[in-house]
Amino acid sequence: MKKFFAQAYLWFLLAMLYAPILIIAIFSFTEAKVLGNWTGFSTKLYTSLFSGGVHHSLLSAIENTLIIAIVAAALSTILGSIAAVGIHNLYGRKKAVINTLNNIPMLNPDIITGISLFLLFVSLGITQGYATVILAHITFCTPYVVLCVMPRLQQMNPNIYEAALDLGATPWQALRKVIIPEIKPGMISGFILAFTLSIDDFAVTIFTIGTEGLETLSTYIYADARKGGLTPELRPLSTIIFVTVLILLIVINVRSQRAAKRKEATR
């Protein structure tokens, strides 16, 4: 009996968590303008999402979001990995201080990050647009990359960098041929994490996107919702994003599980 309630409670929680997404996914296969009206199965919303025309601004918002996410994730992966290597080679107090400084932006509310970056760009007289959004996203993504790469460095045999130098590698060659292959799994997880963080960010984006008419997905949906009623095409779009993220998550989990298994096997 006790077990039954425990199970029921779990399923109830899961249902509450996933019901909104499921409902959107289900209603993405009908044509009704208002969510909740079922007018029969149809994939028209999917075709109209991709055929463009009326929803040109939505498509360009998707494009902007993807470009910003890829550029920001790539740059923060490079920056974060370099930072992680640097922090790893510090000692004692210095290391603790820098680690804390790295953690603060992650705990800092997004709205504060957004406002402070907005004020920074304004005071420096930088016109807000693509560049400022990317810079802002790099700012909050980099600490997460550091956090992903750090454990790889800690697991690494500290002598292997020296072993590479000893065998005739220049410091640059040692980094490229020994350190990067070792931390690559951490860099990949860092990139994926940064990518998803960038895609769904709203608070920081809205403050740094400027007034030149640049829209990302999150700002588009926000503006759309305020105009009254969501564009029906957002339903298939949300479904696609959800499925993509789900696949990415599964890939990450399978990868880390495989790595753990391989480690187990070598022991």
Binding site: N159, E162, A163, L165, D166, G168, Q173, P181, E182, T266
Partner: protein, 460 residues
């Protein structure tokens, strides 16, 4: 004059980490093709010295030459040396072949030559047919073999080995020792080997460098080091030994354990205080007879495989260790004989503690960063620099560190037959030498107390 045979010339190397001096004016010359072992307890600076030689660390002072060329500020990747690390340090993302070929590929050696040399190196370390194995799937011993192959495949002028066998089990270690020795012979490369294992050093080396506290204590062949230790530290560290306080009465006569002995040492001067070292296997033990040189009672007798190890106390209260093939029962009266050539006499490094000090006023003196009360000093004014001497046995150690005037920890314990000679290190890094009958353990934190009567003040 410099001998052109020297492949490695380390001159006056000093190195500090913060306030801690790890290498203090170390000089070392290594001949081409020699197997040199740097031996010492952990923290003696041996690994730091090797890292400076490899280029992973820089010396604060001194010069390093390899094959006559000054390489003091040459980065590690341009030095003609290769290193075998204690924890193997193989590249986990590469297989055995690519690990070994790593150095050759960087030097742009042709592919077919790389293949030839990698196979040859693998054969040398007894790992033929392991080329395509994942390094993570190898055992510790196999990984170390690959690490050795990865180093020697580059044909370095000098091979540096940093405790390469420390992580292996005893049986594997013995096998690898023999293989390393064979490899050294076939390759003709100079080996510089770092270890804390004195047996390993004695087995492998042409020359042993004994280090302690950042200083070279003795350089010599294994037989020299074992038979003629330069000081009590070397005697205690290499093998088992009885170390006793003695006095050199005159040439060839030394007094210790309450009687005079004939010995072979000369030139110490008359009535000079010395350390006497006798190896436990050099003392002949027999049932009590009148022809013995010394008598005693057996206190313990332990079977050690090849021999028995016995402790015998003399009527004067000295405790000596003896190794012999024959066992004597506990409590039995025995006689002992020591040959003159087995008595090793060494200069004492010091006969009392000497500290630099400053007078505060006529009854207070400051040394070891602490103020001590001393007897009234006539004619010495406050602020004057003086020298303070305190005898080893006049320093009192306390369990409770609050009871002492200053605090330190026990660093080195030497049993001298009837008392212990301890080195106590203060938190400022100064050494205090103490003779005591109490038993202390390594790294015990102790309070140190010195009474006014025991402080001798000398003007400088």
């Amino acid at each position: 004059m410099k001998d052109s045979n020297f492949i490695i010339e380390l001159s006056h190397i000093s190195k500090s980490f913060g306030d801690k001096q790890v290498l203090d004016d170390v000089s070392l010359f290594v001949k081409k093709g020699e197997f040199v072992t740097i031996l010492g307890p952990s923290g003696c600076g041996k690994t730091t010295l090797l890292r400076i030689l490899a280029g992973f660390g820089t010396a604060d002072e001194g010069e390093i030459r390899i094959d006559g060329k000054d390489i003091t500020s040459v980065p590690p990747h341009e030095r003609p040396v290769n290193t075998v690390f204690q924890r193997y340090a193989l590249f986990p993302h590469l297989n055995v072949y690519d690990n070994i070929a790593f150095g050759l590929k960087l030097k742009k050696v042709k592919d077919d030559e790389i293949e030839l040399r990698v196979r040859k190196a693998l054969k040398m370390v007894g790992m033929t047919d392991y080329e395509w194995r994942d390094v993570n799937s190898l055992s510790g011993g196999q990984q170390q073999r690959v690490a050795i192959a990865r180093a020697i495949v580059n044909r370095p002028q000098v091979l540096l080995l940093d405790e390469p066998l420390a992580a292996l089990d005893l049986k594997m270690r013995k096998d690898m020792q023999m293989e390393l020795k064979d490899m050294h012979k076939t390759l003709g490369i100079t080996f510089v080997y770092v270890t804390h294992d004195q047996e390993e050093a004695l087995t492998l080396s042409d020359t042993i460098v004994v280090m302690s506290e950042g200083k070279v204590q003795q350089i010599g062949t294994p037989t020299d080091i074992y038979n003629e230790p330069a000081n009590s530290f070397v005697a205690d560290f290499i093998g088992e030994s009885n170390i006793l306080n003695g006095t050199m009465v005159e040439d060839r006569v030394v007094s210790f354990m309450g009687r005079e002995w004939e010995c072979v040492d000369e030139g110490f001067g008359e009535n000079a205080p010395v350390d006497v070292v006798i190896r436990p296997e050099d003392i002949y033990i027999m049932a009590k007879t009148d022809s013995g040189m010394l008598e005693g009672t057996v206190q313990s007798c332990i079977f050690k495989g090849v021999h028995y190890e016995m402790t015998v106390t003399t009527p004067d209260g000295y405790e000596i260790m003896i190794q012999d093939y024959n066992a004597f029962e506990v409590g039995q009266q025995v006689s002992m004989i020591i040959k003159p050539s087995d008595i090793h006499v060494m200069h004492k490094e010091r006969t009392c503690n000497t500290f630099e000090a400053t007078m505060i006023d006529s009854t207070h003196v400051e040394f070891l960063s602490t103020q001590f009360v001393c007897n009234e000093q006539a004619g010495i004014t406050g602020g004057e620099k003086v020298e303070v001497e305190v005898n080893f046995d006049r320093i009192e150690l306390m369990d409770n560190k609050e009871d002492g005037m200053l605090v330190g920890d026990v660093r080195f314990i030497l049993y001298k037959g009837d008392h212990y000679h301890l080195t106590v290190r203060t938190f400022d890094g100064d050494n205090i030498y103490v003779d005591t009958h109490d038993v202390w353990d390594d790294r015990d934190i102790v309070g140190v107390k010195i009474m006014p009567d025991d402080i001798r003040i000398k003007r400088v």
